[in-house]
């Protein structure tokens, strides 16, 4: 098994938004999609996904509706709302800036005399 990385706090919401932005998904589907788009590099406890989903719905970033899955089972499907789409854009930008800055900081070499 490949070594998996622990998630940074707060990043799960971003991943969920990203996964759902690619299409309407149910909870388990979101989990699979995150695995797929992250190259299975992240360790996500399955149960931990759901409080995040409820939170996002409450914040109005996702909307949920019941439907039937590809396995012919009842499942709750999530989609992005307009607010969710905007949040995803903003958060992605933030993340990129942060990652660049931290990357630059970590890559900095001592100045040559």
């Amino acid at each position: 098994m490949t070594r998996k990385t622990q998630l940074l706090p707060g990043t799960l919401d971003l991943l969920i938004l990203r996964a759902v932005s690619l299409g309407r998904l149910h909870g388990y589907g979101i989990l699979l999609r995150i695995g797929q788009i992250s190259g299975n590099a992240l360790l996500i406890e399955q149960g931990a996904l759901y409080p995040g989903l409820f939170r996002l719905v409450r914040q109005g970033l996702l909307k949920a509706s019941w439907g039937t899955s590809e396995n012919n089972r009842r499942a709750k499907f999530y989609e992005l709302t307009a607010a969710g789409r905007k949040r995803l854009r903003d958060e992605t930008e933030n993340w990129n800036r942060l990652a660049t800055a931290i990357g630059a900081a970590l890559a900095a070499q001592p100045e040559e005399a």
Partner: protein, 899 residues
């Protein structure tokens, strides 16, 4: 808005809760099944796949909980959970719950009573009056002429109306001429009265200057109460004609519900415009509307926007001064002080702005003291209980409950307790209110006496309950959860209990409680003694044997002359009735005081010394009827009673001892001249100081009844005093005698002097009972608190006591040991309470004259000064003694073996 939204959201989630739970379950199960499907596809058996899926999923219940929390509503739910748990805990210790609820209930009940009978009386706005916040009225009545001048001050007042309150009308609802009239009370108002108050009609129209002009057909506006009680809410009421004092008047409108006129302490049933003829309202006789010195009207003012009561008062004072100077008949005055005092008139009882604040402050202090004592008590009990629950709390802490959660839990318990207390208390106050309105005898001019608490009081008490619930449980909760977990778990008994500390929280609470109780006991004691001493009246005869009855022939249709003639012969004729010993007439009942009875300024003509005195108008033989000997001179005779009220004529007057001494020193007052604002009098006699209303050393001046009084009797008519032999049916024979003179005469308000005394002092008596009750309440609570705390201390030390006794300590020594601790707290509290009570009494006296007399008389009573602390100390020591005795009976063997 945000708070509201989130609250709505929480409530909505709460209501959706069962569905929500099901939905979460469905979703999580769906996840597990999808996972199991995948695992099955990779080759596992279905059962195994599902098991694996569940394991992978992690803590199912925890996730569910977290989802619920994330979805909102968790807070409300956990509060409910807390309350449910608290209810269970309380049910498990019913003794504790009962004592707590009773303490809180007593406190809340008293507080509600104080709030609804006192606080609301002076703070509740006139119902249905849109301008209530801007209303003001001068303290003293002025002439209609002045009010018209005031009305011109557009920069100060948006409107100024004139009115008289407590005006009696002999009412006949349609029907025959022979129908017996009923006496009802109303107000005589200027046509702009309702627009100044900002009152809109419920039906029909109210009065207006455009429609109600002098000379028009007489109209009347009736109150909602009149409409309901006398006309059975008839939809055809508007347009109907009533007979008032024998004259027809058409109902044009009905006031809104609950509106009983300005000064709602004396509810008005009718509102008659001043434009009606004087035959309908004798108050308007003698062209009173155009006489500039007939101070017959109260002014009701609506302040112009942005005008403060202070600036309005200053402006009004200047105008009044100016008007006084223009008045040729008024005596020139160099008086520099304010001539006008403006009262806030938007409430049932108009008060000067500063007095209102002082009174509200006093009631706030009273409520505060009561609630502090009750809360101290509960805090103490919770403290003791927290110590007993140490083990339970330690267990909960060790299995992961956060301290915050535990504290919240204990505070919920406190709030629950205090809410239950509040409900008990509210019920108590409600009962008291109902009881009170049943037992208060009706007064001559009706008084509003509905003090049963309403929804506002309910909200008040509920809010108070929440504040108190949090207040008394925070400290004990913090203290109890500070436990060190490990030793607590090992052995509850071996816990390092907080040792005896001189300044420990518990002792501080206890001392504070005794201090508060003593302060309450003393202050209320001062008031009780003071008020009852001030209002006591002693007569040399049995007050049950004197009957008072009232007649008002002018309102039965008599002309002033006929009325005078009637009163001329009436005493003679009544004296012939068997069983009647003495008869006298007066314009007011003896020893009583009417609202608006203000002292007048009396000046001695030769020395110019002034003195304020209450005036009473009495007839021939008044003092003989009361069995009061004259100290000097004579009393009024039939001859005086026959005088015309001509301004130039010098009338006789009688002074009370106090007034005579104030005006003429120790010299002889008889034969001297005095004058009031209008005329001169010759002093013909001096009498003992008889009490008027409540008070210690009022000065009184007695003026003779004259034709003027017979022409226009006061609101409660002319009072006929009849001293009868015991056992004679005097009222019956008098009634027959008067009926034989004229059957149309309406005799009203027949009562004995003792009933009159009861009635005129009922509010004082109620005050005495309330304050007495409050004082006793403090005592009871202090006792309950002390017993509880001492009992706890004894229980805590039972092992120690056991050892002492095993080593040979005698019962007396053990008793002393326990009592000593209590005694030191009691004495500290007593000293502090004494100091506090006196400081408070001084402060109250300094702030307002309302309490001065009562506190002055009350504070030097040795019975109270020694009695109250002794009583409290006695009760407190008894409260310590009972548990102490139990401690002394501890069987050393059992105490040592226990735990």
């Amino acid at each position: 808005m945000k708070i509201l939204d989130s609250l709505r959201f929480r409530i909505a989630t709460l209501l959706r809760r069962p569905r929500m739970n099901a939905e979460i379950e469905d979703e999580l199960r769906s996840h597990i099944e999808h996972r199991a499907d995948d695992l099955e596809q990779s080759g596992l058996a279905r059962v195994e796949a599902e098991r694996r899926a569940r394991i992978e999923f992690g803590g199912y219940e925890r996730v569910k909980e977290e989802c619920r929390e994330a979805a909102g509503g968790a807070f409300v739910e956990s509060v409910l959970q807390d309350l449910r748990f608290a209810l269970r805990t309380l049910r498990k210790s019913p003794g504790f719950a009962l004592v707590g609820i009773i303490s809180m209930g007593l406190g809340m009940g008293l507080t509600t009573t104080v709030y609804s009978s006192k606080w609301q009386l002076i703070s509740r706005e006139l119902p249905a009056a849109a301008n209530a916040k801007r209303l003001a009225m001068p303290e003293k009545p002025v002439s209609y002429y002045y009010i018209e001048r005031y009305r011109g001050q557009k920069d100060l007042f948006a409107g100024v109306a004139a009115f008289q309150t407590g005006v009696p009308f002999n009412l006949t609802l349609q029907g025959g001429v022979n129908a017996k009239p009923e006496r009802v009370f109303g107000q005589l108002v200027s046509a702009d009265y309702f627009s100044v108050l900002g009152v809109q009609p419920q039906r029909g129209r109210l009065l207006s200057p455009e429609l109600d002009k002098p000379g028009g057909a007489p109209v009347v506006v009736i109150s909602d109460r009149f409409w309901r009680n006398r006309l059975g809410s008839s939809p055809e009421a508007v347009g109907q004609t009533l007979r008032l004092n024998g004259q027809p008047a058409t109902i044009v409108g009905i006031t809104p519900k609950n509106f009983n006129g300005a000064l709602s302490m004396n509810p008005a049933e009718l509102f008659v415009p001043v434009t009606v003829p004087a035959t309908l309202a004798p108050e308007l006789a003698n062209d009173v509307l155009h006489q500039r010195n007939a101070r017959a009207f109260l002014a009701m003012m609506c302040l112009a926007p942005g005008v403060t009561i202070e600036s309005a008062e200053a402006g009004l004072d200047a105008i009044t001064r100016h008007l006084d100077e223009l008045d040729p008949s008024a005596p020139p005055s160099t008086d520099k002080s304010r001539r006008v005092t403006l009262l806030l008139a938007g409430t049932g009882v108009p008060l000067p702005a500063n007095l209102k604040h002082v009174l509200l402050g006093f009631f706030a202090v009273l409520i505060g003291l009561i609630m502090t004592i009750a809360c101290m008590n509960l805090a103490n009990m919770l403290l003791a209980r927290g110590a007993r629950r140490r083990k339970e709390l330690a267990i909960r802490l060790s299995v992961g409950a956060s301290r915050f959660r535990l504290v919240r839990q204990m505070i919920s318990e406190g709030i629950l307790l205090s809410m239950l207390g509040a409900i008990t208390g509210f019920a108590l106050a409600y009962g008291l209110g109902v009881l009170r309105s049943h037992f208060i005898p009706p007064t001559a001019v009706p008084e509003e006496s509905n003090f049963t608490p309403d929804w506002q009081a309910a909200i008040f008490v509920l809010a108070l309950a929440i504040v108190c619930g949090i207040g008394f449980s925070v400290a004990p909760a913090l203290r109890a959860t500070r436990a060190d977990v490990t030793p607590a778990l090992k052995d509850a008994a071996a816990l390092p209990l907080p040792g005896y500390r001189r300044l420990g929280l518990r002792n501080l609470l206890m001392t504070a409680q005794i201090t508060g109780s003593l302060m309450l006991l003393l202050i209320t004691g001062f008031l009780v003694l003071g008020i009852s001493r001030l209002s006591a009246v002693q007569t040399s005869f049995d007050p049950h044997s004197m009957y008072l009855l009232s007649l008002d022939p002018v309102r039965d249709g008599y002309t002033p002359d006929r009325s005078h003639a009637l009163f001329e012969r009436l005493p003679e004729e009544l004296r012939t009735v068997t069983g009647v010993r003495r008869v006298a007439l007066a314009a007011q009942a003896p020893f009583s005081i009417e609202d608006g009875d203000d002292p007048i300024q009396i000046t001695a003509e030769d020395s110019r010394i002034q003195k304020a005195a209450f005036a009473e108008t009495v007839g021939a033989g008044y003092f003989a009827a009361l069995d009061e000997p004259m100290l000097a001179g004579r009393e009024f005779t039939e001859l005086d009673q026959r005088s015309t009220a001509d301004e130039s004529k010098i009338l006789p007057a009688i002074l009370s001892q106090n007034a005579a001494r104030g005006l003429f020193g120790n010299g002889n007052a008889v034969g001297k001249r005095v004058r009031d604002a209008g005329r001169s009098y010759e002093v013909v006699g001096v009498v003992h100081d008889l009490r008027k209303g409540i008070g210690v050393s009022q000065s009184l001046i007695y003026l003779p009844l004259t034709e003027r009084n017979f022409a226009l009797p006061p609101a409660d008519g002319i009072t006929i005093m009849v001293l009868a032999d015991a056992g004679a049916d005097a009222p019956g024979s008098i009634r027959r005698e008067i009926a034989s003179i004229d059957p149309r005469l309406n005799i009203f308000d027949i009562r004995t002097l003792s009933e009159e005394l009861e009635r005129s002092r009922s509010s004082e008596r109620f005050a005495v009972n309330t304050y007495g009750g409050i004082g006793l309440f403090g005592l009871v609570l202090a006792a309950v608190g002390l017993t509880g705390v001492t009992a706890y201390a004894v229980a805590r030390r039972s092992k120690e006591i056991g050892i002492r006794m095993a080593l040979g300590a005698r019962k007396g020594q053990v008793l002393g040991l326990v009592l000593r601790e209590g005694a030191s707290l009691v004495s500290a509290g007593t000293v502090l309470g004494f100091l506090g009570a006196f400081a408070l009494a001084k402060m109250l006296s300094a702030m307002t004259s309302v309490f001065v007399d009562a506190l002055d008389v009350g504070t030097d009573d040795p019975r109270l000064l020694l009695g109250a602390p002794l009583l409290l100390a006695g009760v407190a020591l008894l409260a310590c003694y009972l548990p102490a005795r139990r401690a002394a009976q501890i069987d050393p063997l059992r105490a040592l073996r226990e735990e």
